[in-house]
Amino acid sequence: MAVTLTLPTVLANLAEGNKTLEAEGHTLGDAIDNVSGRYPQLASRLRDEDGTPYPFVTFYLNDQDIRLNGGFDVELHEGDEITIVPAIAGG
């Protein structure tokens, strides 16, 4: 499945400045593997050493929090949009 990942600035810098990435995969975990392969610096910012999501980076699949829909195992459909929301604290 071809999907789109939207990255915040803080992570886009690790993907050659790209704020949106095209990715392939049957599950969200596959899609993250896919972009991590192309941008190795991004890999450790998207998931921990065990391959699970960090508690300070929230993934949305088409505007829904993936933690409530199967986490990284959630199945993707053609054209899905994934938004990555990191905790920021500036004020």
Binding site: P8, V10, P55, V57, Y60, D63, A87, A89, G90, G91
Partner: protein
């Protein structure tokens, strides 16, 4: 959301909470509000009766305080312990050149008084801590979190959940902002979105990463807007919604927030039932000692004069190098360091430096773990160099 967060007035006390009614001056001042059916005299009285506390009088707190004061919020609490500095003025519009060096509370209070003398300012010139947060926040109807660090954000969240207060949240970084209303009585809290903070150093602060000055103007104004809606009980607040703002794209994105049943503070079986040590929770420990690893600016200057073969390694970002750098230094940004180590002569006497001496210590650790033994870090960074050695290097 159709009800105000203000408790209903006791019977027999009219529209307000038994406090002063709107004067003729105030009726004239707020006339554009009063003719809005959604506000009207009753809503304006609610604003006058309301007590709102702003955590931080900085980038977000500045526009929030100005708009809330202009709107006629009767009591505004300000919690801040900083002093107005030149580098604040690019975005902290409540302060001015004339208040440089003053406490932010003095500066902000004077501006609010000038803007609207009907507003009462309550000052808390202190760092918000686990010891004082419940006491300070308990007396307010709404909290607006505009702090600049993770420990205080989790502290504000947990205190609001424990006290049952709504928190108009805003956060910014570089060109992007987030806004929501965390109100555990009606929806999710901050921990439902981010259960734990990132480890220290992973997400740069605005001081390290920069922030576009207009951005907090927009996000702080959204916080003020949500506060006003919570008080008036009109419209749809951001409870259960997260707004992402991208200033470069000029795009607003809205995402649904769900209450996490397993949330440690607002979930079904909370494990956090009182305030905790937030510095420890955020992994911030007492500053480690770097015996002999740091070197002062005068000592580095002397070693250079004596021809001791010092190699100055600037680990900041290229745009910071363009602002200023120490003559003869070499630029290797921290993020590139593991990969660019080969460019270094391992016999050199390396001194790493950054803006203020924090990143250069991280660089030192990276170099040491890569086997470079003769490396020290410039204490206080290029800022200390500018102050002690070379004033022609601009401070930023």
């Amino acid at each position: 959301m159709t009800t105000s967060v203000l408790a209903a007035p006791p019977k027999g006390q009219g529209q307000g909470r038994g406090r002063t009614k709107l004067s003729h001056d105030e009726i004239l001042r707020y006339s554009r509000h009063l003719i809005l059916p959604e506000v009207g005299p009753q809503g304006q009285q609610r604003l006058k009766d309301a007590r709102v506390v702003l955590i931080g009088a900085g980038g977000l707190g500045s526009p929030a305080a100005l708009y809330l004061a202009a709107a006629g919020v009767g009591t505004i609490g300000l919690v801040d312990f900083d002093v107005v500095e030149e580098s604040n003025l690019q975005r902290q519009v409540i302060h001015g050149t004339g208040t440089l060096g003053q406490s932010k509370l003095d500066s902000a209070s004077a501006r609010i008084r000038d803007l609207n003398p009907h507003v009462h300012v309550e000052r808390f010139e202190t760092r918000l801590t686990s010891e004082n947060a419940l006491e300070i926040l308990a007396d307010f109807d709404v909290v607006a979190d505009g702090t600049d660090n993770f420990p205080t954000r989790y502290l504000v969240n947990d205190a609001c959940v424990l006290l049952g207060k709504p928190n108009a949240y805003g956060s910014i970084f570089r060109f992007e902002g987030q806004a929501s209303v965390f109100y555990a009585k009606e929806g999710p809290c901050y921990r439902c979105l981010f259960r734990e903070p990132p480890p220290p150093g992973l997400v740069p602060s605005c001081a390290e990463g920069g922030v576009l000055g207009v951005l907090p103007g927009i996000v702080g104004s959204i916080q003020a807007l949500e506060v006003v809606k919570l008080i008036l009980g009109v419209g749809e607040t951001l409870v259960g919604r997260l707004v992402l703002f991208d200033a470069l794209q000029l795009s607003f994105r809205e995402l649904a927030l769900r209450k996490d049943p397993g949330c440690p503070v607002c979930g079904n079986a909370p494990t956090i039932t009182e305030l905790i040590d937030y510095e420890a929770f955020c992994g911030i420990e007492a500053a480690p000692t770097y015996d002999g690893a740091e070197v002062s600016a005068p000592d580095v200057a002397r070693e250079i004069r004596e021809g001791a073969g010092v190699v100055l390694l600037d680990v900041r970002e290229p745009q910071e190098w363009d602002i200023c750098h120490i003559e003869g230094a070499m630029l290797l940004p921290l993020g590139t360091l593991p990969a660019t180590l080969g460019a270094l002569d391992d016999r050199a006497k390396i001194v790493t430096y950054c803006h203020k001496g924090v990143r250069s210590l991280k660089a030192l650790e990276i170099l040491k773990s890569a086997g470079v033994s003769n490396v020290r870090s410039l204490r206080g960074g290029i800022d200390a160099w500018s102050r002690a050695i070379d004033p022609s290097v601009p401070r930023y």
